[in-house]
């Protein structure tokens, strides 16, 4: 039984970073996730584990600091929110191109533009389809509780180094700001050794070069082929999701993060009215649980993708169920920072699927 | 007895920029007469005696194609 605490989601992320053996954190203030940098600054982990915490002059500088520490072979992390994450896209493309591990957390707020500080899920495309330039993907985890905010940090570091690829934790202001009980995992000691590919001083080996540049197109194509195979491997081995009342479901909600929590209540409300509604919660958004959804599609009359956005993940659900063209797939979601209620979701569901007259 | 030095040119790495010719206080370096290297660049050669091995040419050469020897005093 690990140490139990009552924490904000943001604070759980910060504490988990220290416990996961993170070597360095580079961040920048932005609502709704400034608590992460504040917590790390107050915790002064340099004393506890030697972990470096530095506030950068911009998210642009922060992600390039992450790139640098990662290139040196270290466990490194940054966190921000939507506008800041947009500034980091170039850096993420460079990290993917140079095959560098690292953990990035996006506590999403309403967009586009300066948007709002309330929660949203409108960064799904940017997160899962590669928001920067070039063919690359981030492995994307979507926590739906303060517990997962902590657990996913450790998981993210493991996956980042397993695949030498940046890993994104896609959460939102709701989960970041709310407080919940969390069982913290036991601290993992910071690594004493550096990977053999790292640029950390060539003692006892030929020199290493960390770069995403190959002026020879055929060389660059070879590197891209390696990335393509890496993402296929992720799709094969790293899909994670949860199901809720799906065994006998006639209808399915697909929702992640905050929307999944809210939709659980909608499932209960629907079942109270005799509607066999189930919920599938993707935990990894890339790789997307397409097969799981496809398997369920056979028994379903309709799928509702519930997202606090105009509808982005719904496209992946449509892709996943393309062998069932007759199966209706719809989206519902408040957006712009407004959080939908379980009742609103049920009402939309009934209008879309039940009251067809 | 005058100090004697010499310059060994890696002909195929020379880019014919001429900076060494400019830097040589003894004016003993010049482009080879109507010859080019494997890359098509004119390259430099020692044209006459008088090199003192002062290394001026070598340290202004952006491609470090000049290796300098200087005869130690007997």
């Amino acid at each position: 039984m690990g140490e139990i605490q009552l924490m904000k989601g943001n604070e759980a992320i910060a504490e988990a970073a220290i416990r996961a053996g993170c070597d360095a954190y580079f961040g920048y203030p932005i609502t709704p996730q400034s608590e992460i940098l504040e917590y790390l600054a107050a915790a002064n982990p340099e004393k506890r584990t030697g972990m470096i915490v530095l506030q950068a002059e911009s998210e642009l500088a922060a992600i390039n600091m992450v790139y640098g520490a990662a290139a040196a072979g270290k466990k490194v992390m940054t966190t921000s929110s939507s506008p800041g994450i947009s500034l980091m896209q170039e850096g993420l493309s460079y990290m993917a191109g140079a095959q560098l591990p690292g953990v990035i957390v996006n506590v999403v707020r309403g967009g586009p533009g300066l948007g709002t500080i309330q929660p949203s899920q409108s960064d799904y495309f940017q997160s899962t389809k590669g928001g920067g330039h070039g063919d690359y993907r981030l492995l994307v985890l979507a926590p739906a509780s303060v517990q997962e905010m902590s657990d996913h940090v450790k998981l993210a570091f493991d996956l980042a180094f397993k695949y030498r690829n940046p890993v994104l934790i896609l959460t939102d202001g709701l989960i970041g700001q709310m407080m919940e009980k969390v069982e913290l995992f036991d601290p993992v000691p910071r690594s004493k050794t550096l990977p053999d590919w790292a640029a950390c001083g060539k003692k006892g080996r030929p020199h290493n070069i960390i770069t995403s540049l190959h002026l020879d197109a055929y060389e660059h194509e070879k590197m891209n082929q390696k990335l393509k195979e890496k993402y296929a491997l992720m799709q094969k081995n790293e899909v994670r999701y949860e199901t809720y009342y799906c065994e006998d479901a006639d209808y399915l909600i697909v929702a992640y993060g905050a929307s999944a929590r809210i939709s659980q209540k909608t499932v209960t409300l629907a079942r109270n009215r005799g509607i066999k509604l189930g919920l599938l919660r993707p935990i990894t958004l890339f790789p997307f649980p397409s097969e799981a959804i496809a398997r369920l599609a056979a028994q379903l009359n309709g799928i509702l993708s519930v997202e606090m956005s105009h509808g982005q993940m719904v496209e992946d659900v449509l892709l996943a169920t393309r062998q069932y063209p007759a199966l209706r797939v719809e989206h519902f979601g408040r957006f712009g920072g407004v959080v939908h209620t379980p009742e609103e979701i049920l009402e939309a569901f009934i209008k879309l699927f039940i009251q067809l007259n | 007895m005058a100090i004697e030095g010499t310059v060994v040119v890696e002909i195929d790495r020379c880019k014919g920029c001429g900076l060494c010719i400019e830097a040589c206080p003894q004016h003993v370096l010049d482009f080879a007469d109507s010859k080019v290297n494997i890359k098509g660049y004119r390259y430099v050669v020692l044209t006459s005696a008088g090199c003192t091995g002062c290394t001026n040419c070598a340290i202004v050469c952006p491609d470090r194609v000049l290796t300098i020897y200087r005869k130690k005093e007997a």
Binding site: D23, A24, F26, I52, L54, A56, E57, L60, A61, N64, M65, Y67, G68, A69, A71, A72, K74, G91, Y94, A199, C200, G201, K202, K203, G204, H207, I209, I210, T211, S212, L213, L215 | E4, G5, T6, V8, R13, K15, G16, C17, G18, L19, E22, Y41, L46, C51, G53, T55, N56, A58, I59, V60, C61, P62, D63, R64, V65, I68, Y69, R70
Partner: protein, 258 residues
């Protein structure tokens, strides 16, 4: 006397650093980047720190400098080398870390990173080659392009009313307390090369004392960008560039000289 009997190991007084790889340099004939790249290899070799140094390569003419010197390198995004260097030095404080950047990289897109790394007093060495133009991309106007100087993006000469005068980022960062040694050198004559080498040696050695940033600007020619022969370009540089970018130490032991 035939010069061949002078060519003996004991008579060797100068040769290319063994840290230079076999890769021919990609720089144009007569370009100062070549001299600077070789000087860095010579300094690292002489200080015996080849296994403890990490270079941060820019985007610009020196973008593939990591192919030329056999040390560990990290290629940074355009303008971000000083942020990358900041992190590398923070997570590996006992290593030598330096950036190699051009004027576009350091004084245009990377201005904020340059200023804040200097203001934080990172214990890194910043090597800044200022040739008043964007060379790699074909000779466009840079922040350090001189008034009236023609480039592909100010073909009628830089108009300071429209594009502002050439910026002196080196003096700007010198006033920040985080910079400890700030100097402006050149590599167009033997004497200038020797001074630049001394400055590089001093800068790398300073990293051990954790006193803050050592910043070396090297004013250099750009023969293809300026459309001049290497010799003419160096002469033009002396007449024009040195007026706006005068050589010499600007800050030593944390104190402003100029």
């Amino acid at each position: 006397m035939e010069s061949t009997d002078i060519i003996k190991p004991e008579n060797l007084v100068y040769k290319r650093s063994r840290l230079m790889t076999e890769q021919p340099l990609s720089y144009c004939p007569g370009c100062g980047h070549g001299t600077v790249t070789n000087l860095i290899a010579e300094v690292i070799e002489e200080l015996g720190i080849e296994s403890e140094v990490i270079g941060i390569a820019p985007v610009g003419c020196a973008v593939t400098v990591y192919d030329f010197i056999a040390i560990d390198w990290i290629g940074a995004a355009h303008g971000r080398a000083t942020a990358v260097a900041t992190a590398v030095k923070r997570v590996l404080p006992d290593r030598y870390v330096f950036t190699y950047q051009g004027d576009g990289d350091l004084a245009a897109i990377g201005t904020a990173e340059t200023i804040h790394a200097c203001n934080r007093g990172e214990n890194i060495t910043i090597i800044f080659v200022n040739n008043g133009i964007y060379g790699m991309t074909g000779g466009q106007m840079a922040p350090t392009t001189l008034e009236g100087m023609k480039t592909s993006t100010c073909p009628y000469g830089r108009d300071v009313n429209m594009q502002g005068p050439p910026i002196d980022i080196t003096r700007m960062i010198a006033v920040l307390s985080g910079t400890y040694y700030v100097t402006r050198q050149a590599v167009h004559t033997p004497a200038a090369v020797r001074k630049t080498k001394k400055a590089l040696l001093k800068a790398f050695e300073l990293q051990k004392t954790n006193k803050g940033v050592s910043f070396i600007e090297i004013v250099s020619n750009c023969n293809s960008g300026w459309k001049m022969s290497p010799v003419d370009a160096n002469r033009w540089m002396e007449e024009k560039m040195f007026k706006i970018y005068p050589l010499g130490d600007i800050k030593v032991d944390g104190k402003m000289l100029v």
